[in-house]
Structures are given as structure tokens and as C-alpha cells.
Symmetry: C2
Subunit: 184 residues, 2 copies
């Protein structure tokens, strides 16, 4: 995108702590002007997320308690990619496990970086048509309620701060761009 | 938002590594059904970001090399909040330092959580009118180019994957919701 890329060279990358889902590294970098700086770097295995749309055009969201922010949230279904798994397969698995809805059609939406200043996490995002609702199949440490809203209700909840999860905002408003294009 | 909140109790929070801008904790949690689980928790001091709009309605973006993803990116101006600083003050400072534009008017947009599964990072987001461009005033380890695009050009770059930074996608598409409402 730029002829004038000012790359930072990695002089050293040292593992400082290995977590359950992320690992913390201390990077020693050489700046474009030759200075040496120490920066944080978090390694994440990647995730997948889906905007699931039912036959009436409503969007299925999940409500769950998030320890990191000590709050109940409204989000699109999402989850980590298992080793060797195709992101689209992870995406379909997460929708069916977390919501109980079965997917009848799925399309790539876009991919996002969540915390670009210190973490390599990428979320592969999709939108999908869902059919009938069966049963949730949650992990032992997942406690998730399933909700259903129109696109307009979700836009209102983004504007009034009810929805603050950035993958959910990015995914649904990008999906809205696609829907608007198709309708024009 | 839910009568049926399934909170996780924090039994223990142990600092495992103190980074430059983020700290890594090991959380021991009690799930709603009484099981004990170990989860990662990253503490972040919070950030501020702005959609800067010039007199012609163009949006000012910054292009920089991001070590965590080893890529050049296009983003809205953003940066960490200094201790004790009001987020709006951080936001204005970042725009003026990174882009050289001076802000003539600023409004709250929405706030986002970037990596809700393991990190408490919140970004306070604003949109602002900017006037004339003066000079950038970058930190020693910042190397930033200033760019200018119409809202339609940015929507195209979101749809074709040129822009993948989630705060930028969330902020600009939320700003677009506000602009569309004002025009209707």
C-alpha cells in the first residue's frame, strides 16, 4: 500500500509467559532510524466469527458474561480456531455449538485484526443463513443465552452503547454494507 | 441486559508478567456451576481513537508499520491514555501529533472493547472536524504517513480487505450510521 514502508526489524523475540490461549513475548526491535526499542507482543492462534441471519432477516446474537471486562455482553458467535482447522469450519462449529442453529449457507465477510498495537489475533469473519434451532452444545466453561434482533435494532444498540464488542460492530456493519449494495 | 447473569467469581488473580504497555495475569475463576478454571487476563490502560473529518468530508487516516502483524496498515489516529488523562484529551492529542491536523470540533462516537475474551482494553472513540494541517509531532518510535479518503473509498477498502483494523472499521461505520441518520 505504501512505497515507503518503515519496517521494524525483530532483533529478538523472547517468550516471557505461556498462557492458556495466548503467549506473551518481549520483542527487541530496531526502528527504521536504527534505535533499539522493547515492545510487547502477544501471540494468538486466531479465531472465527459469524453473523448468523435467520429466514426473516433477524440476526442471532449470544449473551454471555465476560470475565475480562466483568460484564454481560451481546456478541456474534465466535471462537478460537483449533490446530489445523479451516477457519470456516471453526466458524460453522461455533454457531451450531453456541446458538443451536444449523447453517444452510455461509459466505466470507472480511477478516479483522483486533489489537494491532500488540497482538497478532486475526478473526476470520463470515455471514451465514441459518435454518431451524436445535440444541446448544456448550463447552463446560461456557454459559450462553441466545437472542434475536433485527438489523435496525442492532444499529440502535451500537449507537446507544449496548453493543461494545468490536468484532460484533465490525462484522454487522460490514454485513450491512453488503446488504445495502445488494438492495441498490 | 439480562436477568440471568452467569457471573464468574475471581478466586485469584496472579501477575505473571509486567509488559511495557500491558500486564499478563493468570485468573483462577469459579464458574456458575462451581467448577474452577484457569483463564488468561491482560490488563490494558485504555486508549482513545478519532475519526477526523476535513472540511470536504474526507477522512484522515494514518499508515504505519505494525510489528504484531508484520504489515503496513491504514488506521484512524489512536493511542494510549496517559495516567490521569481524560480520554477526549488523549484523542485530541493523538490526532494533532500523528496527523498534524488541528481539531475544531469533537464529539463522542462510541466505546469499544477490542479483545473481550482475554483483555479489558477499551477504546474511547470520537469523531472530529479538523481544520488546517500543520506539522506532525511523532514519538521517537512512531513512523506515520498521513492519508485522506472519502467515506465511499473507505467503505470499498473495508469490503476488499485493504482495511482490516477493527477499531477503524467499527469507528468509521458507526460514524457512517450517524451521518446517514443526519441526512435522512
Amino acid at each position: 500500500m505504501d512505497n515507503n514502508i518503515k519496517e521494524f526489524e525483530i532483533l529478538d523475540r523472547e517468550l516471557m509467559y505461556k498462557g492458556k490461549i495466548i503467549d506473551f513475548y518481549k520483542d527487541t526491535l530496531k526502528t527504521p532510524t536504527g534505535d533499539t526499542v522493547i515492545w510487547d507482543y502477544i501471540d494468538h492462534k486466531g479465531a472465527a466469527a459469524v453473523v448468523p441471519v435467520d429466514e426473516e432477516g433477524n440476526i442471532i446474537l449470544v449473551s454471555q458474561y465476560r470475565n475480562a471486562i466483568r460484564k454481560q455482553t451481546l456478541e456474534i458467535p465466535a471462537g478460537g480456531i483449533n490446530p489445523g482447522e479451516e477457519p470456516m469450519v471453526s466458524a460453522m462449529r461455533e454457531v451450531e455449538e453456541e446458538t443451536g442453529y444449523n447453517i444452510t449457507e455461509i459466505h466470507p465477510l472480511t477478516n479483522i485484526y483486533t489489537a494491532i498495537a500488540y497482538c497478532n489475533e486475526i478473526i476470520y469473519m463470515y455471514y451465514a443463513k441459518v435454518g431451524s434451532m436445535k440444541e446448544q452444545n456448550l463447552d463446560e466453561d461456557e454459559f450462553i443465552d441466545v437472542k434475536k434482533y433485527s438489523l435496525d435494532e442492532i444499529k440502535t444498540m451500537i449507537l446507544n452503547g449496548t453493543i461494545q464488542d468490536t468484532k460484533t460492530i465490525s462484522a454487522i456493519l460490514t454485513y450491512d454494507l453488503i446488504v445495502s449494495k445488494q438492495n441498490n
